[in-house]
Amino acid sequence: MKTRSLANAPEARLPIPERQSLCPVCLKTLPAELVRREDSVFLLRTCPEHGEFSGLLWKGEPGFDAWARPRNTPPRLPAATAADKGCPRDCGPCPEHRQTACTVLFEITRRCNLNCPVCFASSGGEQADGLKVEDLGQRLHRIRALAGEVVLQFSGGEPTLHPGLPEMIRLARSLFPAVQLNTNGVLLGRDADLARILADSGLSWVFLQFDGTTDDIHMKLRGRPLLDVKLEAVRRCREAGLPVVLVPTLAAGVNDKDLGNLLRLGLSLAPTVRGLHLQPMTLSGRNLPGRENPDSYLTLPETLQAVCAQSDGLVRPEHAFAPCCEHERCSFHFRYRKTPSGKLIPLRGPEGECCSPHSGLDACCSPAGEGGRAEGGSLADPAGADGARRAVEAVRRAWEAGEAAGGGDAFDAFIAKARSEIFSITCMAFQDCRNVELERLRGCCVFVYVHPDRLVPFCAYNMTSLDGTPLHRHV
């Protein structure tokens, strides 16, 4: 991490003003530059106290510039804190934040029934949290008031350990358009009734931590052989009619060569499994030994290429989309229809499509029309709120269970069938102290709720320095 010499690199400094990052040692806010070297882009900054740092930001195809996606000024969340100490220390959000929310994580416990070598939340332990369902219910109402109609994620710790989870899901479902559970799946696999109880409570879908198709991978990342219990969790979800998204934490040299197997496993378990959601490992919280080795971490384009290369031609780079909600360097997504014969048909072709990075179009983010967003728009502004609603609707279409066709005409039957055949491959490249860009933090739409009245961008909330000191979690 401590910088490599870039003295001999053919450099091209990008003319983007006011780029900022953090010192990975003390988390001080610093001016930063992007520096190109061959097919890579590095984020370069110098801390007066700790020296020069260069973090790998982007490597390979699609190229850094080709992936760029111009966007309009989105609506903003009402500021909950003043811009006082400077980004990213004021999050709440502060008036400098440039996005609204499409997702809010609600951490309902710090307990966990695993003690993984890798955990950005540094969760663990069996100590009781002492938070009653009534208190958590009040917080759900608070989140609704702060963030609006977002996808609500129950998270932790391991949220299934909280005995009030079904009751909270019922309440959340009355407040939010979709409710997601982020879980390691251990209890879902072991408890014969839990999946059914959660489905009956109104849970929309399960984000199931699922790192690989061999126990060797689970041992390295989670410290236990978990494959069987995870597959059992999927089976129980299928019986309960609960959609599942498989969520691997990707670490180079551990499971990055297992992506093709994960894809084939996911497709074999569709439509219960609605897709893969890839999360390249970050240098936050607890981490693997050798945490400062830059080769341990995958960039967004490397992840994109890896899934394509291992897919037997099913997934192709030109099918990928950049996001229009979060910053373009934060994610990619593929959306397919899986045919009965196992073929994947892209829902949008590469030519002339709304969100394709190859189209040059940006229709759903255009200034005119229903996707338009006014400067300084807020949740109270119907036109401004529309962009966030579109993002929420898109993930619901991808991950919710398709409704069974009951009567109706050929259109009804087609809609029901098509919904069940959608399979998505998505990736969220979280930021850490190696390569954080404050521009991306300010454009974040994924928040963590912090009691009593703050919403903190996910990557700011989980940011830790090289020695593991948190930026926000202890506040």
């Binding site: 909600c325 229809r337 829902l347 579109r390 279409r397 050929a410 259109f411 087609f414 809609i415 098509a418």
Partner: protein, 70 residues
């Protein structure tokens, strides 16, 4: 154009080009690489298909949204 039960109906529509009444006839719809047949008001002479507003703004819009990205 739509009956109380929600079915698409052809009564009351005349093809402007041929001057004959539209009839409910099979039409091919193709989405996402799949084709299916649905009965729609069509001219029995020239084959012109009429898409009623309720269908365009209802089920067809829902299909389009399935294809839509965020």
């Amino acid at each position: 154009m739509k009956s109380e039960s929600g079915d698409v109906r052809a009564e009351g529509w005349i093809c402007a080009k041929c001057g004959v009444a539209l009839e409910l006839l099979p039409a091919d719809a193709t989405y996402m690489g799949s084709s299916f047949q649905v009965d729609l008001p069509r001219c029995p002479v020239c084959g012109l298909t009429f898409i009623p507003p309720d269908l365009a703004e209802g089920k067809m819009l829902e299909v389009e949204k399935l294809l839509e990205d965020k």
